[in-house]
Amino acid sequence: MGESTDPSVSQLIAACADDDESLLARVFPLVYTELKQVAHRALLRASGNATLSTTALVNEAYVKLAAHAKLAVNDRSHLFALCARAMRQIVVDHARRRQADKRGGQQPAMSLSGIEPDSADRPETIVAIDEALGALSERDPRLVRLIEYRVFGGLDTRQIAELLDLTPRSVQLEWLRARAWVGQALALNTGPDVAP
């Protein structure tokens, strides 16, 4: 049950090669499940106390999924994107659950404009960022992929540059764009020096 079965893996490879959205949607659960299992096993190994490295987990999930076939660079990029996307989904699902747990309590509902820069731990923030990424993907899907690579896949600039076929400098510039548009989408209140 825990192992990826061959049919889904071949589907997976096809999806990576094709960039067919519906096919991607179909293989996504496979990646999601795989990542969860990797995380679960990692936690068992760590016997509780170790802080998990998301990078290590996404990498392990990637390696497990990729082990079934030789992937071209382009496929690798897609597959890694899928792993990072799955990680994002896991984090957001968890945040939504935590939000649901709190509902009905004294916690006041938060308006987006009220989000402060240091509230990244709050489930509301994570859900809001997820929604911001959703909106941004309509305008610039590659930028969202870059964000996912870094935030949820834990990749560094060099690795991202390789996967997206960019120079490290471009990746850094893209990251600044990412900050700008996510900030805009969240309507962040960044301080007096930017106030209009």
Partner: protein, 827 residues
Amino acid sequence: MNRLPDSERWQWLDAALRAMLELDPAERERAIAARCADHPELAAELRRLVGYADQAGPLERIGQSASLADALDAISARAGTIGGWRLLHRIGAGGMAEVFLAERDNEGVTQRAALKLMARGLGSAELRARFLRERNILARLSDARIARYFDGGIADDGHPWLAMEYVDGRPIDRYCHEENLTLRKRLDVFREVCGAVAHAHRHLIVHRDIKPSNVLVSRDGQVKLLDFGIAKALAADDEDATHTRSRLLTPHNASPEQLRGEPASTVTDVFLLGLLLFELLAGRRPYAQFESDPFLHEQAVREQDPPAPSAALADSLRLNRASAPPIAPAELRGDLDVIVLAALRKDPAARYSSVERLDEDIAAWIEGRPVAARGDRVGYRLRKWLGRHRLAAVGASAALLVAGVYTILLVRQNRLVAEQRDHATVAAAQAAAVKDFLLDLFSEADPSKALGEKLSVGAVLEKGSARIADGFAGQPRVRAEMLHTIGAAYHALGNHTRARELVGKAVELRRQWPDAGVELSRSLSELAAIERDDSHLDESIALAREAVQRAGTDVHTRALALNALGVGLLMRDQELGAARQALDEALIVYRTWPTPDPIRIAIAQGNRAAIDLSDGKLDAAETGLAAALDVLAPRLGDIHPEVTALLYNLARLEERRGKFAEAETHFNRVLGAETQVLGAEHPDVAIDRTRLAYVQGERGNYEQAERNFADALAILRAKLPADHKRIAENQMGYAEALLERGQAKTSEAHIDEAIQILAKHFKDDDWRLAEARRIQARAWLRLDRREAALALLQKIGPALRAQPPPIPARYEAALAEAQGVPPAAGH
């Protein structure tokens, strides 16, 4: 939701943004102005975008925050189940343990719990047994202010876990701060904590780890103490004590004696409560200025006198008025300072002697009465008093023994309280009085006094019964409850004579009161169990019948009575049908309890399986035993008497199937557990040793069998009435083993005695008497009294031939020996 500008505007802004980002920051403002010359309305937006790009924001912080790890932790939990609990997500972690929100389905109701999974596994069987014992004690705490213990066990990988009531609340310090509680309100909340701790102390459970994060205030304002006794349950053995200590303790929340590595006691909790009160009143911990250096900090806790709370409060107000309590230092100055400092004395003997005393002094302060902590005379009195109340700090070996009995008593007592909870504050008050009495009684078993004169459990109980005899003249109901409790303790310890005497008196008293039906029923059930264990089955059944009748509609009591009746009938095995009926009804009643207790249900199921075993329905019996074991073994552990009973029946089952090797294994396990719990001299252990010897005989291991029969018989003779069936049972097997070992003369003496005993219990044509006579005939054969043997065998033929195998075959073998070729020894 979507705060992004429309597509056209987005493209313009994005292109502008890219251009700006390529520039040196110093040139940007000018470039923005130039670029937006035609679109002044976009300038502010572009400026804002550049501002976001310039500094790290939520994207960076997500990566650094705990959110990712939390989400992954939650995955691990969601994938897991422990002891039937589904782990939902992790709600906390520390060096010792992780805590998960967990749920399980209990009789159709989903129950939530905080499941604490210990980081460290328990290696040795001894540690495991100890954990399971401690855990059973936790189950008896029943105070609304203490997070309830639900369940606990040892996971497959050896890690112990405990499921406790899940409390949705805030730590008490945060609660006081966020609700901006006044001094008076803070004291009220603190007194609730004292009440909870005092409750646990009455059960001889010491918390040892009282700190704000363990004292929650729920949303409806209820104080809840977490983790009671867990430190104790998990404390490793002595050689490992320092290791455990270093894991458990930080000087923030430790007493000087804990830091010295001495055992914790009730006055340790007084100190920890003093720390908590200090923090709630002063807004900071007493040794806050040392906290940056663990070494200095520990030294300060051990050696340095704490500042007065009023002075510490003045500091807090000076440093940060907003986070300090809304209290004026002048309010603390004087008596409250004295109270807190008296709780925080370095020398345990100089502190308040109990949590109640601390609590009383706070109450006195609130009401404006003089407080006891004032004045030197008190110190002396405290010391004196303390000398007698250190039992909870059990460390010395003499005290362990006493504590063991104490636990039995309290466990019983608490079970009664639980059963009575529904109906009567009077009953609760009685129960409290009995508990205080017990506490007092056992407090005299001071370990330091007992050194040298080894203190026996019996001596403590004796003292207790003597005191009941002359005291409580004005409180007959309390007296009856105590007689019942102490009597039940004697019963548990195997002293049936004293047990019968005391519980009998309780019955006698309660018969006088027409409104005491339920209490009377409980005492009758207990007495029925005592009589049954002395094999006075007719008396037992009659008592149990009366118990059922007196129980009326009280489901708890009724189920107990039906169970007693069922077991009595089962043992007098002519009435299996009636026994089955009683136990089936007991099962039904147990299931109608307002909060069905899976443990009681499983016990009744186990008893029901015992009937199937007697009926010869071995498969059904095995199913029932296995189901009951599944519920009970993980919850109670091997050494619990109910689990031992199930294992015993399983052993009997294998014996019936002729699988003697398996039976011997089970019996050995049973004996191991029983010896540990009851001691080798207990009659139940002797009875089971007899069974073991039988099985060894069946396996042809006569030498071991003979030794076990002899050991068991010596104990049975010492502990049971001379005409007890169990003695006869032993002697029948013993006699046969002796025959095999060539000791016909001794064998004959035993079998003669066995026949005399059996003749008192059974009719002359009963097969059991016939079976004993078969053995007698075999002894006669060996003693060259062939004719008499043959005549005897012919007489008993019909009774034995009608029995199930292997009895007829044994009979035929004996008959052949008598009639035909004499055995080698008899020529």
